[in-house]
């Protein structure tokens, strides 16, 4: 190894400092979501889950249309058929085509879950944002209310509401949303409180940005990650709650189908015809597993603290 001090000075050349080059951003600037998407794509399990979910979603939307059978049409000559070419998933005790019923049921279950998630987002984000932005006494009162609501075991309240209100899809959605938004409100409040005290918000304020713009351009976009991740966990839990309610007999009722109703139906005849329980069970498990993996993947991709 040669000592650089021994080298003749002529060999050195002064580097040019280009002031414009110094500030040049080589990579195209990405929004938080593009950035997250790139990282999510590297997570194989999450991508596969997303793909399966899209597939199930498409089946739920178009499956009943393509099936030549109606989900509620009974056929007493062909009850309890095993899976065959005629009926891909067999038929139930009233001869209803199980293929049509499963996708119709998936559609209803997903509809309920998405509607409940939307209500949660709407109420939770509004409540959390108002609480964090108002601060002071308003925040204190709103937080006391939340602390009390958190203590209430939600399923018990949902069951009570289901009994009192007329049975139907709307009732399930409302019952689940009455307690469901609390978690979202807490997360959004915590996130906005954290953002509020950060330097970039202070910088925006010093530059004279008005409050409205700070909320719309800085606080809300930076809260989106938390909202999306939480929603990924709300949807499967809503699907589970609906299935649970239908299983214990206070959710939707025949001839309407949801995954819970189908599982309940299948359970009644499990002894002789296990396929009637197993197919809807597989669909619900697939949905739950995929949402769970996708939620984890999204959290890793969108949550900067997880970056390594």
């Amino acid at each position: 190894m040669e000592n650089y001090r021994d080298l003749p000075l002529e060999l050195f050349e002064k580097a040019e400092v280009n002031l414009d080059e110094k500030e040049h951003i080589a990579k195209p600037s990405l929004t938080a979501f593009q950035d997250g998407w790139i990282r999510l794509k590297k997570n194989k399990a999450a991508v596969v889950s997303l793909f399966i979910l899209i597939l199930i979603f498409l089946f739920a939307v178009f499956g009943p249309i393509f099936s030549s059978y109606d989900y509620a049409k009974t056929d007493y000559h062909h009850t309890f058929q095993l899976p065959s070419r005629e009926h891909i998933f067999g038929t139930d005790q009233f001869g209803r085509d199980q293929f049509a019923r499963i996708w119709y049921g998936t559609r209803i279950s997903l509809l309920i879950a998405f509607a409940a998630a939307c209500l949660d987002i709407f109420v939770g984000v509004t409540y959390g944002a108002v609480s964090a932005l108002a601060g002071g006494k308003v925040d204190a009162v709103m937080q006391r209310i939340i602390e009390i609501l958190v203590g209430i075991p939600s399923l018990i309240i949902i069951i009570l509401l289901m009994m009192v209100m007329p049975a139907g899809i709307g009732t399930i959605i409302i019952a689940m949303s009455i307690t469901g938004w609390v978690n979202m409100a807490r997360l959004v409040r915590a996130q906005i409180l954290k953002l509020k005290s950060q330097e970039f918000v202070l910088a925006a304020r010093i530059l004279g940005t008005n409050s409205r713009k700070i909320i719309l351009k800085h606080l809300i976009p930076n809260t989106m990650g938390v909202i999306v991740i939480n929603t990924m966990f709300t949807i499967p839990s809503a699907i589970f709650t609906e299935a649970f309610l239908s299983f214990i007999g206070i959710g939707l009722s025949e001839p309407r189908a949801s995954l819970g109703v189908l599982i309940n139906n299948g359970y009644q005849v499990l002894h002789n015809f296990p396929h009637l329980l197993i197919y809807p069970a597989i669909v619900i498990v697939l949905i739950m597993v995929c949402f769970s993996i996708l939620g984890d993947g999204l959290r890793d991709a969108l949550d900067p603290r997880m970056r390594k």
Binding site: G151, M163, V164, P236, I263, Y267, P274, V285, M288
Partner: protein
């Protein structure tokens, strides 16, 4: 600390009062009477009046509410409409033990299996057992417990005939319901302790422990496991919710005469005194557990306490 506990106890009572009030007025809005509607409408008016009087249903709702609150304070949950002549308290306590047994067994099983799997998974990170644990953890929170229960009943009970299919009698009857109920808890414990352990294993004091020449087992037991097991206390709240919810379906499936199946039965028979009693019972139990967990955690981990005080 004393102030914190007092605050929590105050919240406990406010929450309970809200639940009781909500339950009471919701139940009042239920369609129909709690009595067998056909027989009730056939009764002569005088007998109807007598029956309503007996249960205090002829008085204005506000009076009934205050009376109910007053009775509650004295530990009286009212009289069951379905199990004639028995008080709700008797009905609940008559059926509580199967639920307690199954619940406890499920928690212990979940703790034993979940913690063992989670610890080994973290210790042998990215190995076969790690992947197995992760798959189990995802399945455990994704497969609804009534599906697990139904499948266990079908295969283990019916097809292979190893264990009793349903009903209650010997200890063997409690095995399948306990396993079905523990499934979710096992997954939650395993997943939680694995994440916690992976975090702890990266800490400097683990390197120190290794550097000073402790053998692998000592590092694992004395340093890694001891430090990662404390936060497990925090997930006891969600675990209790999981078990309470699960018990409703699992007990119904296995015909266990516990309070979970009692709740489902009383919903189906519109026995609203029992529904109210159980709602209050479940809520009180849940709130109490969450409170104890929070207090316990702040005792174990002083950092939580300091943060809590900063909040004030």
């Amino acid at each position: 600390m004393g102030k914190y506990i007092l605050k929590r106890i105050l919240y406990l009572f406010i929450t309970l009062l809200i639940i009781i009030t909500a339950t009471f007025f919701l139940m009042k809005r239920l369609p129909g009477t709690p009595f067998d509607s056909e027989r009730f409408s056939q009764m002569p008016p005088q007998q109807q009046k007598q029956l309503l009087e007996k249960y205090g249903l002829d008085q204005p709702v506000s009076v009934q509410y205050l009376k109910y609150l007053n009775n509650l304070i004295h530990g009286d949950l009212g009289v069951s409409f379905f199990y004639t002549g028995r008080t709700v308290k008797d009905v609940i306590f008559g059926r509580i033990w199967p639920s307690v047994l199954i619940g406890l067994q499920a928690v212990l099983l979940g703790l034993a299996v979940g913690l063992t799997l989670g610890i080994i998974a973290a210790w042998k990170h990215n190995s076969g057992i790690d992947y197995f644990t992760m798959i189990l953890a995802v399945l455990g929170v994704s497969v609804p417990n009534f599906v697990v229960a139904a499948l266990l009943q079908y295969y283990v009970g019916l097809k292979w005939g190893i264990l009793p299919v349903a009903f209650w009698g010997t200890w063997a009857h409690s095995v399948l319901p306990s396993i079905a109920l523990s499934f979710g808890a096992t997954a939650m414990f395993a997943r939680f302790i694995r994440t916690e352990m992976l975090d702890v294993l990266e800490q400097d004091y683990i390197i120190t422990a290794r550097a000073k020449g402790l053998n692998q087992f000592q590092v694992l037991m004395a340093h890694a496991v001891r430090n990662s097991i404390i936060p497990v206390v925090t997930i006891l709240g969600p675990i209790v919710v999981n078990l309470l919810t699960g018990s409703l379906a699992v007990e119904s499936i296995f015909s266990v005469p516990g309070i979970g199946s009692l709740f489902v039965e009383s919903i189906k028979s519109n026995d609203y005194a029992t529904i109210m009693g159980l709602t209050i019972f479940y809520s009180a139990f849940y709130i109490l557990v969450v409170m104890i967990v929070d207090i316990l955690y702040s005792v174990i981990d002083p950092r939580i306490r300091i943060q809590g005080n900063k909040d004030e």
